[in-house]
Symmetry: C2
Subunit: 196 residues, 2 copies
Amino acid sequence: MTRPGGRTAEVRAAVLRATGDLLARHGFHGVDLATVARGAGVGKTTVYRRWGSPSALVADLLTTMAAESVARTDTGTLHGDLTANATLVQTTLNDPRQGRLFKALFSAATYDEHTAAALAEFYRTRVAEWAHAVTDAVARGEAPIGTDPVATISHLSAPLYYRFLTTTEPLADLDVTRAVGACSAAIAAGVFVVDE
Amino acid sequence: MTRPGGRTAEVRAAVLRATGDLLARHGFHGVDLATVARGAGVGKTTVYRRWGSPSALVADLLTTMAAESVARTDTGTLHGDLTANATLVQTTLNDPRQGRLFKALFSAATYDEHTAAALAEFYRTRVAEWAHAVTDAVARGEAPIGTDPVATISHLSAPLYYRFLTTTEPLADLDVTRAVGACSAAIAAGVFVVDE
């Protein structure tokens, strides 16, 4: 006997894996419900009933990606935490499948408002997770009181995403070092301090 | 009598304007040669002969955009120049047509290598143009000797592009202030200094 909960979770995982594969390979236009069902090895009716549209599949994929993403690293120092975050972004965007998947998600968000909202929610979740690194640094006296954690983490990732999107080269270790250095200098200068 | 050079330039301008309109409205998939010709009010054969593919049209559009983009502002101070650049990025990305056009270009670059190369070349040109602001600042003693101008200008634009792509909100003045502040702090800390 199969537990219904277990089977449902397995179907969902297979369907979202197939959705991610199609997105990475062919983009949003490749996310066809029948093709997803075939790729996942599940019945077409299941995909049509449970998700119903490519938008809904991609939104659910983003929710799962946010939920299953690695927790923020706690190295005990601000510099260590910033380096861990920037290195994670580097590894993710340099990975061929993940890199193509993220570009496909940005592309899908351009033409589909539902995906744009889901993508923004994904980044809100991820940035909020890593924001603790900044809150902890403030508590330890490593960053000025009032430093905005969300603005800080966004500024840390930004140069890596910019390079990822505007050049055709992979992210180098120097890019990580510079992102961490620039963010640290801005934190120390109080650029992200907000009045409460 | 029409000057042949003038007519050629007019046809090119009309064709590239139509290409930009279709890109902004429908994305790369909307850049159909016959539709471009109709939109530009020129013969289909002209577009087929002179460009031949949607890729070539978009690459030519990017070349023109790079050539016709406003020259860098020279305010006489590093802070003034950085603010002028960040404000230009804000204005461009917040403009509905331009914003959609840039998202469409990122999207097209994801699925078309020719466009990816042309987009990278566009950013190389634009960043190089503004890099003079950094070279001048070094000469004036406003930035450490050896500051990498390209890395600096890329870091300045990055947080604005990151916000543009990962949220659904327009770029606020605070985003510009923070981008300039963070970049200035990183410059002063010598983050972009390279050994010659």
